[in-house]
Chain length 600, copies 2
Amino acid sequence: MPYKAAKCQLIYKGFGLKIIIHQTHHKIADFKSIFKYLEENFKKPEKGIHIFPELFLTGYPLLDLCLQKPFVAKYQAFLEKLIHWSHSLPKDVYLLMGGLEYNLTQSGIPMTIKNVVFGVSNSFQGESLYAKKLLPNYDIFDEKKYFTKGREPQVIEVFDKKIGLLICEDMWASSFHDIDPVDDLQKFCQSREIQLDAVVNLSASPFIINKHKSRLERAVEISCLFQCPFIYVNRVGGEDEILFDGRSFAVDGERKLFEGKKFRGDILELDFPEKSQQYSTKPNSKSLTWEELFQARLNEEVQPAILRKWNNHECQEVLEALAFGFQEYASKNGFQKFTIALSGGMDSAMVLTIIKLSLKKGQSVEAIYMPSIHSSSLSYDLCFDLCQRLGVKLTTMPIKFLHSAAKNLFGQSFNDPFKGLSDENIQSRLRGVLLYGRTNQVNSMAVNTSNKSELAVGYSTQYGDSVGAISLLGDLYKSEVYALAHYINEFYQEPIPPKLIHRPPTAELRADQKDEDSLPPYAILDAILEGILSYRYSKEDLLQKGFDQEDIDKVFTLYARSEYKRYQFCPIIKISSKSFGFGYRIPLSSDKTFYNQSDQ
Amino acid sequence: MPYKAAKCQLIYKGFGLKIIIHQTHHKIADFKSIFKYLEENFKKPEKGIHIFPELFLTGYPLLDLCLQKPFVAKYQAFLEKLIHWSHSLPKDVYLLMGGLEYNLTQSGIPMTIKNVVFGVSNSFQGESLYAKKLLPNYDIFDEKKYFTKGREPQVIEVFDKKIGLLICEDMWASSFHDIDPVDDLQKFCQSREIQLDAVVNLSASPFIINKHKSRLERAVEISCLFQCPFIYVNRVGGEDEILFDGRSFAVDGERKLFEGKKFRGDILELDFPEKSQQYSTKPNSKSLTWEELFQARLNEEVQPAILRKWNNHECQEVLEALAFGFQEYASKNGFQKFTIALSGGMDSAMVLTIIKLSLKKGQSVEAIYMPSIHSSSLSYDLCFDLCQRLGVKLTTMPIKFLHSAAKNLFGQSFNDPFKGLSDENIQSRLRGVLLYGRTNQVNSMAVNTSNKSELAVGYSTQYGDSVGAISLLGDLYKSEVYALAHYINEFYQEPIPPKLIHRPPTAELRADQKDEDSLPPYAILDAILEGILSYRYSKEDLLQKGFDQEDIDKVFTLYARSEYKRYQFCPIIKISSKSFGFGYRIPLSSDKTFYNQSDQ
């Protein structure tokens, strides 16, 4: 039975048919800017099919915002405006836009919400074409909390071209789920004898290191399945922890037709891609949702070394991601000034370097160094050297006097001046006070300097060195911070003093302290942590991998008892499949003995 | 067609058939204690049917724990042990237990997880009887993230009695969902001509003020629908924010047969309830999930005054809930000592009072008062009076010297001593440092003293007065804290100085400061906030309710710009349907202008 999608049929009177990819970059719920974008870009629109990302009309992720009455009301009003606006569009322009479709109660409260594609032309009435079928609900994703899934595949016919529609996760097949939107679409086309001219996927796909490679591989697979080009449109933005990297693309079989910019808005225009007629025959692989790409890491057979060293390409990708995430958080929350507390160690030096390298016009960063009686002169020298190289103003605020004043106060009040851990923590917390005093004074933003290894074992002081508005390094193990430092020094004119990189890590909270006195060497610590977090290894698994029993026990103990520190931590820019933060949810008050081996 | 459930049929040889309710109280994942409980209570078990709560075998909520390999392995080993143990049970004992049923990959990773009822007898082989059908996924609930829903209703036949099974949310009908387990069970019984002898619901149902009344109402409805007793078993526990209050019960029609203790483990034994033969005919109401009870508040027609004053019964319930939640967090995280920072104001006085009233053997609480140059002598007098009344040791640690030392340091380092907000915040943060210095010194737990009104408008200093391991008052508006204070003073021998209650609220961070200089009066503020949070009102809605435009604008502005403070806040003991914390998820970096009225 031949298929005809009457609703969307338009007759194109131009010459070659164009595809225009709008790789957009808007703040969540910023309806004004979104509308302004449309007004500005459609004064004299390019004739053809304009494709926008998933939830272009609202931004993503919205979380509870999509349930709020003021948000819903504003969005509904915006949709009305969009409908009105669309009626002035020329006849030879067709827009595919991601948005929300609400079913509201009489009092304006959502009954159901669908994540949909709107087909916008000059006869647009506000009805959607297609609703997302595969709602991701793992790790950072909670789409089943908010959205109702779509049930039907969709092929639209625009300007004589037959286009299959998908939204983001829909492209990832699954053996875990009972839903496979690609498979459904294929069966739909087969049963109706439809030969597609393109498959289009509107996405809001979070950045993870090396994820883009998997997107391209899967795209080739889908292109070959349908024997037509596959067009992928992704949004751009940093939403607290989550980054959207853009890089919209099209492939036709193995051939990549174009790729959009990384971490930047972009508009791409191309002729409607001709079919290559050369498609390899590939089966629809069934283990490629992100959930399963994550699960697959747990499969003993496919498992490589636990923690692989980043190559230059990966270092560059991470550097761009962190700079972008930082800039997004800063601009969306209204900060132009930044204050970094330097310690003379690697992490704070790295944060300052990334910020300095990413500064935009009108922005400034300053550094403060807050030595205590345990701080070495080397630390000051390295901070000084770093700031010289970066051209950043450094202010020294010794905490010696405050520290001893606090100590005296305890002596007077409790007849018990603190020592040991209390004494270490108070130094770190006094630094937190001074850092935040400074941010209040000049209305700057404090950026956190903790790394993932510290966060995992609780090797930081709550309300002390763990403070900050956002964490740049919270998803990088210490050894990854070092890898990034070497890369930056090689390719960015050595902003970091080599001595600083080669110095053994120390918190300098007591005399002659070194991290490795309390922790296993970072190479081992980080591998064990990656085993626990990403591979969900048990102690037995790690023992089998050749790690030392004592190291394993120590790391598990430290990890299990520091949940409370992670609970109150700031948002962490996510670059890996498993980061601490929103997608990591462990109860604080549970019994922790189950981490011990089975006989214990 | 008459129905016979062969699998579970046992022949009871005793006299009257007993039902034994195990209202249990265990730490999450504490398999040792759970097994010990079984061993101790089944040495010479009461003959009859023993009923345990939902997920008795693991605890609830598990969040990501249920995905962790070490947890899964330990649980599977525990299940094996349970199977072995069950074979020594006498023939006339049958247990209904909540637990998890895993479908694992070869490498021990969960493919699917079901929240089930196990029927445990001496022939138990580890297979479940019933899987939960309605998986709550709103607010604090994320069950669709972890669990696969069950599809079939279940009636079992034990000792000649036919029992219909439900798990927690299953009992709440819904017009939003396409699933109604009660309706399904009824149709199942009708089609097979089954007349049930009881409906049993295994629950892990979080406490919310006044929720228990709704449970009982719905129970009567279900009992009447099936014309048989309804037995409800609930767990006990405080899991970070979420409290489980127990209060297991049975009803037969309108008649309540028994009710278990509140916030305490309990074992209840009764003869298998005879049918009353007097059931009113009630329809299966279709708007009673908790999701909808929450939604219903948004229905203009049923809406009462926004914020109703608590009666004595409600005050007592809240007081018990807070004391229980505090004790649970403390004991599960290994604290026996507590340190409270007193300000001379209502919130810290309330926190100290609740803790002191709830102290157990071996526990102790101390208070510290940290006056600055802006603190009045009245504040000290009130702290002194409070501690005298409560019998708590009070230590004064003036921050004047530290404060001026910090000020001098800024003067020296930046040639700019701070003033205004910077000066206010630094006092609050220095107090945080001293409070945490003290907790480190004596290994005590700092309890947060913020209330819900402050949290909502960001009227607190991050890392200052907002610190703490857990928040007792974070789900109480300021006016509710006052209501509780009046109640406590009336019924608990006036532990709080009346002068303290009648003093106008002040942060004392600058001269002559009063809260009402920066905020609307609390009665108005709290009503507007409840409108925003629980009713999801827009500005227009609140204007229609008669609030002042200026107050509304101010509250929305303060609310929208303080998300970052709430993000890093400690767990909040939840007592209302909408609290800040795990079930409240708003992006930090979104545009906030949509809160403004439509013409703006």
